[in-house]
Assembly symmetry: C2
Homo-oligomer: 79 residues x 2
C-alpha cells in the first residue's frame, strides 16, 4: 500500500502544540508520511495551506482532506 501525504500546519501556539503531540504520537506512520509546518516561521507556506482549505491552525491536511483540530489562531492572523 502506498502512503498518503499529511501536513500538519501550526504556529507554535499552546493549542497547536497539544494537537501536534496527538498527531505525531498517534497517526499511523505505516500509512502516512507526515510533515510538520510552522506557519509562523515558514510564511512562504501560507499560500499552500490556504489552497488546501486551512482556515486556522492547528490543522492537518490528510491526503485530500483538511481537518481543523480545535482552534489556535486564524490563518489571517499569521500573514
Amino acid at each position: 500500500m502506498s502512503k498518503i501525504t499529511a501536513k500538519f500546519y501550526h504556529a507554535g501556539c499552546p493549542v497547536c502544540l497539544e494537537a501536534e503531540a496527538a498527531v505525531t504520537g498517534y497517526l499511523d506512520r505505516s500509512k502516512v508520511d507526515l510533515e510538520v509546518v510552522h506557519l509562523g516561521t515558514a510564511k512562504n507556506r501560507l499560500a499552500e495551506a490556504e489552497t488546501a482549505g486551512v482556515k486556522s491552525v492547528p490543522a492537518l491536511v490528510l491526503g485530500a482532506q483538511t481537518l481543523h483540530l480545535n482552534f489556535g489562531a486564524a490563518l489571517s492572523a499569521l500573514k
Copy 2:
C-alpha cells in the same frame, strides 16, 4: 506499551462521516483502542462526552485530550 483509549463522538452528519473516515483509517491501532460513539442515537453518552470537554461533533477524545475535528453540530443541538 499499553494502549490509550480513544472515543470518536459523532452524529452521522456529513462532516462527521468525513472525519470518521480519517480517524478510523489513519489512527495507529497498535497504540490506540478506538470506540466510535453516535451521539444522535446513544443519547445516554452525551453527559460523558460533555464531561470530556466535547463542545461539538465530530470530536476525538484521545486519552486526556479532546480534539474537535472541524465542525458538524454543537453538542447542545443533540440533546
